[in-house]
Symmetry: C2
Subunit: 476 residues, 2 copies
Amino acid sequence: MADKKMVEAITSMDEDFAQWYTDVVRKAELIDYTSVKGCMVIKPAGYAIWELIQSQLDSRFKETGVQNVYLPMFIPESLLQKEKDHVEGFAPEVAWVTHGGLNPLTERLCVRPTSETLFCDFYKNDVHSYRDLPKVYNQWCSVVRWEKETRPFLRSREFLWQEGHTAHATAEEAQERTIQMLNLYAEFCENVLAIPVIKGQKTDKEKFAGAVATYTIEALMHDGKALQSGTSHNFGDGFAQAFEIQFTDKDNKLKHVHQTSWGMTTRLIGAIIMVHGDNEGLVLPPKVAPVQVNIIPIMQKKEGVLDKAYELRDRLSNFRVKVDDSDKSPGWKFAEAEMRGHCIRVEIGPKDIEANKCVICRRDTREKIEVSLDELESKVAEILDTMQTEMLERARAHREDHTYVAKNMEEFEKLFTEKSGFVKAMWCGDQACEDTIKEKLSVTSRCMPFEQEQIADTCVCCGKPAKKMVYWGRAY
Amino acid sequence: MADKKMVEAITSMDEDFAQWYTDVVRKAELIDYTSVKGCMVIKPAGYAIWELIQSQLDSRFKETGVQNVYLPMFIPESLLQKEKDHVEGFAPEVAWVTHGGLNPLTERLCVRPTSETLFCDFYKNDVHSYRDLPKVYNQWCSVVRWEKETRPFLRSREFLWQEGHTAHATAEEAQERTIQMLNLYAEFCENVLAIPVIKGQKTDKEKFAGAVATYTIEALMHDGKALQSGTSHNFGDGFAQAFEIQFTDKDNKLKHVHQTSWGMTTRLIGAIIMVHGDNEGLVLPPKVAPVQVNIIPIMQKKEGVLDKAYELRDRLSNFRVKVDDSDKSPGWKFAEAEMRGHCIRVEIGPKDIEANKCVICRRDTREKIEVSLDELESKVAEILDTMQTEMLERARAHREDHTYVAKNMEEFEKLFTEKSGFVKAMWCGDQACEDTIKEKLSVTSRCMPFEQEQIADTCVCCGKPAKKMVYWGRAY
């Protein structure tokens, strides 16, 4: 039974989903806690996922003309205060630097919770003419928000992200970029993370501090809770007015720029875990799996077995491949590979070698496939492709199974009492109804989806004429 | 004359090297100043160099088994204080966070100036057995040191770097890793940045706070000043003792780990500028040049010219290539390309097209080469290779021309009065002599090189028996 030790230590997800999540992030060695409350260490297995997310997201950014930059991590208090809504949204949750070396600072600096104000201060000096536009900049960095309750990847006092900040000559162009990045995020989530998302707009209550409009992609976790997975904001010229970012346009008139910002964070790793994971541990989509192929020799002390394993590894060098040649038992290695989310394991022993074959086991379905060694490379590629596709399909089916419709408050309450998932329901547009629903059921409006349906004519809460269909849910 | 505007704004490097440097970093649009004193914006042209440094350094790291991680940016004051020498070295120059949100913290947190203490705190919990060793971790992040005098890239309050932190079972293995990383840094500087370096050990006076031994690579800038370009530290088990990082060894005994750390920073970009730049602006080694080929159409309004330029760009897609199709004059474009350090420019006009050729101009030598369009790809590759090699050779020749030998204090003083560069001279090993030399001449010991020479038998300062040959210099 020692073989199963790693696995048995995991709580079942049906028993206690929160504990299952914590077990997985620890046992798969994605993170560790630290002496700094609310901050975590991202360990190699976790950081490698982030690197794969970064490289694939960054190359998509660059294809759309994004340029990377780096701005300071500190924001002078006076700068943070320039845009009224923005400071109200963020000031209560920032960390303040008050001393540099042995001396008190003349002005406090906050550690950036987000960098709109710094980008504005920069663009103010960098943009003069329509020839300087658009600015389509992004930075990869860490930000700090002094959260009270924290959870690995999902909510921590410091987290890693990218933040894009753009400036445009016209409102139309800013709106176009806002939607372009939202679409890019959605495509990335579906095709790389195998996570289907709902695209839509946030209500005023839920939008970003300082934005005219916030767009979001919302994903559904295995436990039926929603996770905001990426946001894209259109600021109009509000920040430009506050920071006096002006340019001379082609018509020789002085105008304010229009701005956007958009971000994705390490919480995506939390989404991957909660969408795809199972009771054996982590399940990773091949495109972001640090180990796609784990070759596990059977009876590895027999002559030729390890050599064969290394030979297969070399043949599979187009994949992220490892050989587990440790002195643990095969059973232990299988369990460990499952816990860590290695996409496929290749079992190779003396009998396989004799028969010129190996056994491939898929992590997601645990299906075992006998493969002739002659067609190893093509079969591995095929299996990984299939796995990537089917993981998305399963996640989509799960979301569809857990998306409900409510026409009135009775149905709405019943659904959120008995089920967990998204509920589609009509809304009058009044924030009071959102407040009521949140207070009563701890449910928030996730988004007003681009794909609207006329479920009913009246608001699910107050019964007045409805304006929008909204996805509602309990969220991380 | 408008064509030359960008260039004329640069101060000549012979007239005022410091001003030339500042002009280049601004005019080549590498950085911008910010409202945060001592912190800078790294603009797209600067950050793209950093990305090329990162990717090539990171792949070298990974080949030696390095794994990337991410640790918090905050260090609790009590943690920073655990290793006595370390806290004395860093406490006077850190930024302190005292408030989280609206509340004062119970314990101050410093923004990491370096992360030895955090890694120790992490390893303490993560290392139990010899099976857990070695740990060879690295992180890419920003750090903060509250410097009084700052200069772009060379010394700023926040800068980007990588910091490797390793833990080993034996002293020998730690020493091996320390030297391995120093060698990797040296190879990287020479083969990627085209900057030759002197490898050696720091004196006790100059070593890292808390290290048993600090090794360094020292480069010589164009003005004859030295720049410490990378360091690798062996900590012995000092930190492990202070933090109680112990493991059970194969012999079943409890032992302390042996540790190393090593880092390189964005100051490398400053080194590239000061080693290779000239009075026309930036000169970048091809391996870290964001634009290797700039295709400049001549008489671009003539039919077919722009199309040809785009065709050449597509053919050169293995390189980092752009077409300057802006409506500026060719002369202006040439000057701008030189300022920004584009490695080669390809001039293509109606006459060239007719003759099936183009003119290639190398940025470093300004040599013009006529190339048949039939062999464009191979010629471009060849020219870039040659440029990379010759840039290193020129930098090495410059360093050799500016490396002097002093046998006694008279020669030593004369050299540092009349010349600028490295001076090789003997040293008794006594810190008092370093202090005297620093006070008198603002000269510091750069390193005790691995390649020792017996220049004299006595210390250049006090005349007592010499122990080591030292490279001395004025440093950034």
